[in-house]
Symmetry: C2
Subunit: 135 residues, 2 copies
């Protein structure tokens, strides 16, 4: 089973779904190395497009994503990773899921979730630039 | 609310989740035009990377995805679209979800779902090349 990394310039999207609640928590990208690390360690490792490097989810926050199973789609260019998330939320904005806003027909967005953690308590030791991803 | 299309060369990934069962059905990509069509018509329209054109899901199969709501992630470069899917499966391989295989630690894949439709009954009038996507 070959994952089609080359089809998208070396990266495939990985959907992260809570194995218990089925909530979609976030989407990240993986290259071959981060995928291999994810599979070997049982904890999700992405490739950060903005920082152009391997990025273990939870490396600063402790909010590690423990892998339950990994699924692959029909044309082998997308992954669905079901996880047990450590901590009360994956999003650096303080929500359980990064998908905490709904888009309205008029182009505005409405927050539809409650904050489950205080972002500053998790990322306090980092510089502002580092806060741009849900580390 | 601006969607960050330019960040990924004009395309953002759109996760399609069954609104009733919470099952993740597929992942496609959208450009600004296909997103606008999706929002305006209430039915999912992707941009096909392989065919380099707008692609309405269900245009040949009738398996249209009716939009329930559209969510956007914290950095505005991924969409989560919750849908009511028409028909018994979204995948051209005959499954309810395109994520019908689980990856094992040894690199092999195991089918973990039952077929819910016969692919040839849906795509019989198309040529084989057209079968490569879940149209």
């Amino acid at each position: 089973m070959e994952i089609a990394f080359e089809k998208s310039g070396g990266l495939v999207p990985a959907i992260i779904q809570d194995d218990a609640s089925s909530e979609v928590l976030m989407l990240g990208f993986m290259n071959a190395e981060s995928f291999a690390l994810t599979q070997r360690t049982g904890e999700v490792v992405f490739f950060s497009r903005s920082r152009n490097k391997i990025w273990k989810k939870g490396e600063s926050s402790g909010h590690v994503l423990q892998v339950r199973d990994i699924r692959i789609d029909c044309d082998a260019d997308a992954l669905l990773i079901r996880v047990h998330p450590l901590g009360s939320g994956v999003c650096h904005e303080g929500y359980r899921s990064c998908f905490y806003r709904e888009l309205n027909a008029d182009g505005t967005a409405a927050v539809i979730a409650d904050r489950t953690l205080a972002p500053e308590s998790v990322y306090a030791t980092e510089n502002p630039a580092a806060k741009k991803e849900s580390r």
